[in-house]
Symmetry: D2
Subunit: 364 residues, 4 copies
């Protein structure tokens, strides 16, 4: 279902980039989870434009308003509605879009699908839609932590075009990542990445890269066999983020170069717990978490909005040229890091709640 | 939902590898679609073991029995149940599994999730589960062809470990792929791939590789924005196939090396139709098909079953060694080709039916 | 799923009675459906308190704000978010509720389920929740009318306690029903019903009754066999309305007094169309509409809020007495009429869109 | 979704009455629930034709075959497939059906919906479809009993046409109900009911009636507010049973004759537990169980198949007459009793598993 994600912990997002508001309803959230506006706002602030000098300079405040489901700082178990008004509406800057399809954007495909589309901004295809996801994940994280306090979900920029960071998924910290505006976990590579993004932007061009994510201290047993494998739901979650072109988990595409003897992860007992001596599986086997670190990588293409004239067609079917102008993110990855974390969180919380259905509470 | 795939065209699979049967119920299939047992059986025969001398020699006939939903060679619109009996049951060959977790298999994670697991064969984690998917897709393909006769879905082996085939997604044919037992589209590379798989098998080892898939003549407008993007559903579908570790569409991970100027696909009018001059988007923009070829690649890890002694633990938590014996596929890719096609077909048919909900039949 | 209704045309409601807002997201609505705020507001005005002197005097304006999904008076095909602020918040009037369970309300069961509940007003159990349903149905009705312009959905008060109206489902009009504040279709009985409600209210007591609903000019073929039978979905929809205790369709409970010979509806050809000579089936056979009038009745219990002291317990488990005070609807039926119509509309539109999936547009 | 019931504990049924088999897949069933073929078979035997001399004399054995999901007498947590072959196929007896629409059956509406229908027997509209429901409920009951051993679900025949049984829902036992072939709980009325059914059958006519059901020792807290209220899901479940025309819970339609003062259920403390002094609510308040007995009634119309010539039309649109012949149930209620229990069980188990998602296991 298009704007719904999750089965047990479900989110429903809404909102065009230049309509009245964007937001989310969260349904299925357990009751009595401590949550406040500050936790949600802090999550949104990591995602919002204008937060540093390598992201789009739009100054949307993205203020979260909680409309329902939370009372005196705890969840009620009822739907939680969170709304963020669209304050920085500048439809004038996009007038050309109404007539011309922007290359590698969704203007044409929305028209092909619906026979109509939002004529200001990216409409529903705008990255503003991810506000609802990030807000929902801020709540989801508290649900996960209630049951598994040690669980951690961290994402970082692994590469910007050809610049590859050296980051150890087992040890990287949130402080490492937030310590630089490009949100890589490698302090040595960070300045080069920042310089590269600025240089690309000054040319009116754009770049992409790879984001890596790790889930640490995930309990064994999450994920469903067959279609809702944990890695399948993660893949879907990540490919639902705008501008993504690929997903790989554990050994990924590089793992195809190994033989079975090199690739298999031997089991070993460690402090009375079943562990694997290596982790090419990436923490998931047969669709179910095995308790090891879950780590995966997502490819982001270069931003489609560039400051160059481009060949295109009008919605009336005439060849034309689109002029490059307006505001743009030369590289979306720094702002995509919290979105990757958010989607990973939403996948996990859904599987956590689904896992609860399988076993009678021990108190009974 | 674990064993359900799809929203409008829904399949529900069941069956352990060594239980009574494996099968599928298809619900939501339109009525009056011509289908017969031969179409389904032919699809299953492409997937079954023992079909060539580079796949596992088990001789399961995999005979499809249609129990409901089809009358005189056409669908009734009611649930279609297809069952395949498990005839080649040799539980004795797997006795060790009951006690020892096979490395990089799902034995341990099933125990962690359920507190119990099938003790013969891979149970639900066996590739036999995919029989239901392939049978359902044989029907789904007829639904797609009813509305879009020119639509084609083709997959092939792109690489086996380091051996990479040269295949043009725009022109490769089913005959090219079925013309060799490894199911690559490159007749020059096929013998080397076959020899490599045989050599690896003779060592009791295994290899993986990459499968590529193309969807040609797909109408524009399929796929839903936000969470059920066409590429997101394809990613989930592919990562739900056993042994997969990665998915990339269009320019994929390599696309992160390009700048926006190099990566964007200019729009051009061609015979009154909106086309793109290049296709780095891979036929999907903003989650919706644009009418160009949809192509993607899936990484398969080397088979976990190998004929080598491996370090592991027992289900009672003792370190031990697992002896390599029994039957195995040294390389699953040739048999995975029809499964990749099947999952792509199931994604497409679901989005086709969902697209129908958006437009009144008479208004068009 | 708790706050979601529908499969193809889906609504998600949110909001406590005394929180920030109540509202709805509509997902799956077809594009290019003409809709404006006035249509939605008019629907809400029929439902709101304070509209006549036999309903609760609370003066909530219930102003609909459309946040997304509609542009220049037509739907975009994207989620439509509608929000109504809670303006008349008087938590003080309900202080006792925080400590004492109101008899035949949901205070105790919410605590039993969630371990927490909204302490002001009825929270999520308040009839304010139905605002989102009514707003969504105003849009749904336009979707139905686009394809079936003659389709009509009308509900009316059939009885208030012992007072039974004489209304012919085949001919009653919206004007008949809206012509009196009790919303019955019987102008003769209306004054007696109104007087009875006023008398009951003056005693601080309350009454219930029966609402009847007819769907005219419904096409044959809507509804799904087995679980999602049209009457099953109508039953669920109606029993999801607060204060309902029963549902019957066609001949209903009275039909159990007839024999098969008396009850069966003979088929006859009429102007080239298959019709039934009688309509004890109530327009649905085997879960699927047959083109005849669909008519059903819903029992509403007397309002639980009364101005009498009642025996009850505190949330700490002490026996106590609840004093009758505050504002109340002595009879909810006049305001429930548009809610019944709304739920019937939401059931129909969902089945309309689902029916579209079964037939290729071009093949018809 | 047409042939799917439930969200957490989901069943998918399939099968035409005269196809190869009917059956069910159960998905989401918790692991390690003790179950064996005998439990399932015993449930099916209560539903099957030919079990007494007041039901249809067809001698279908209805033998359950378990194809997956159960090993050594316990569930694996994986999909449980149960299949029952159609052995008593006598398509010849129904030839007329292919050409003539049987009054008050689903022949015409299936054609209207699908443009095709099963030409032998009732196809999917046959009561044979309920076999899958009954088999699934036999398993569901064990899941409920694992957590709530004292929970009981009992249904009985409350009335046959004008003959009304005197049964106390609080005390009636399974032995009372199974003690007579009409399955009423009133031993005095049973002979009169049996005689009436025989007399009606001898005339080639049919009768309906009311089935009542009670759920005792249900925990408080099951059911979801808003759309998936426990009574709403029960209403849907019951109206999904063939031949049903009405549902009422607690005080039902008769409750509309009371005032609020008479109808409200006062709360009282009893042995440290919150109880209600009366139970007009029927054990559910605000959609959520309150721990009191849940009781409800379902209206069944007289069987549509009668041994009388009836006016009807052919599928080609010609007026004609249908001759009464073949086998029929003059009264479906005795066999519908286990189906009512089955559907109640399926509603409860689904809400039990959903309730588990809301609270972290205490063991964590």
């Amino acid at each position: 279902m298009s704007s719904t994600f999750g089965h047990a912990f479900r989110i429903h997002t809404y909102g065009e980039s230049h309509g009245g508001a964007v937001g989310v309803i969260i349904d299925g959230c357990p009751p009595r989870i401590p949550i406040n506006r500050e936790i949600i706002q802090a999550a949104l602030d990591r995602r919002r434009p204008g937060q540093s000098d390598i992201v789009t300079p739009r100054k949307e405040a993205d203020e979260a308003e909680i409309l329902s489901g939370i009372q005196d700082g705890v969840t009620l178990g009822t739907p939680i509605a969170i709304s963020v008004k669209n304050t920085d509406q500048r439809p004038g800057a996009y007038d050309e879009m109404a007539a011309k399809y922007r290359p590698s954007h969704a203007d044409y495909t929305y028209d092909a699908k619906y026979g109509i589309r939002a004529l200001s901004g990216g409409g529903r295809a705008s990255a503003r839609e991810t506000i609802g996801r990030v807000a929902a994940a801020a709540i989801a994280l508290q649900v996960l932590k209630q049951q598994y306090p040690a669980l951690e979900i961290l994402a970082w920029v692994k590469s910007i075009q050809h610049l590859v960071a050296d980051v150890d998924p087992a040890t990287v910290t949130a402080a490492d990542i937030e310590g630089n505006i490009v949100r890589t976990g490698d302090p040595v590579m960070a300045p080069a990445m920042i310089d590269h993004i600025k240089a690309i932007r000054s040319e009116g061009n754009s770049v992409g890269g790879v984001i890596e994510c790790v889930i640490r201290n995930c309990p064994a047993g999450l994920g469903e066999p067959i279609f809702d494998k944990l890695e399948a739901d993660l893949a879907k979650a990540m490919l639902s983020i705008p501008a993504t072109k690929g997903f790989e988990i554990g050994s990924g595409f590089a793992g195809t170069q190994l033989t079975g003897r090199e690739h298999n992860d031997p089991f070993v007992m460690e402090n009375g717990r079943v562990r694997t001596a290596s982790n090419r599986s990436g923490g998931i086997q047969g669709g179910i978490s095995n308790g090891e670190d879950i780590f995966f990588r997502i490819a982001f293409k270069p931003t489609a909005t560039i400051m160059t004239n481009q060949q295109t067609v009008t919605s009336e079917g005439e060849n034309t040229e689109l002029q490059g102008k307006g505001r743009h993110d030369a590289c979306v990855l720094p702002r995509a890091v919290p979105i990757v974390e958010a989607m990973a969180t939403l996948v996990l919380v859904d599987h956590l709640l689904r896992q609860r259905t399988l076993h009678a509470p021990t108190a009974e």
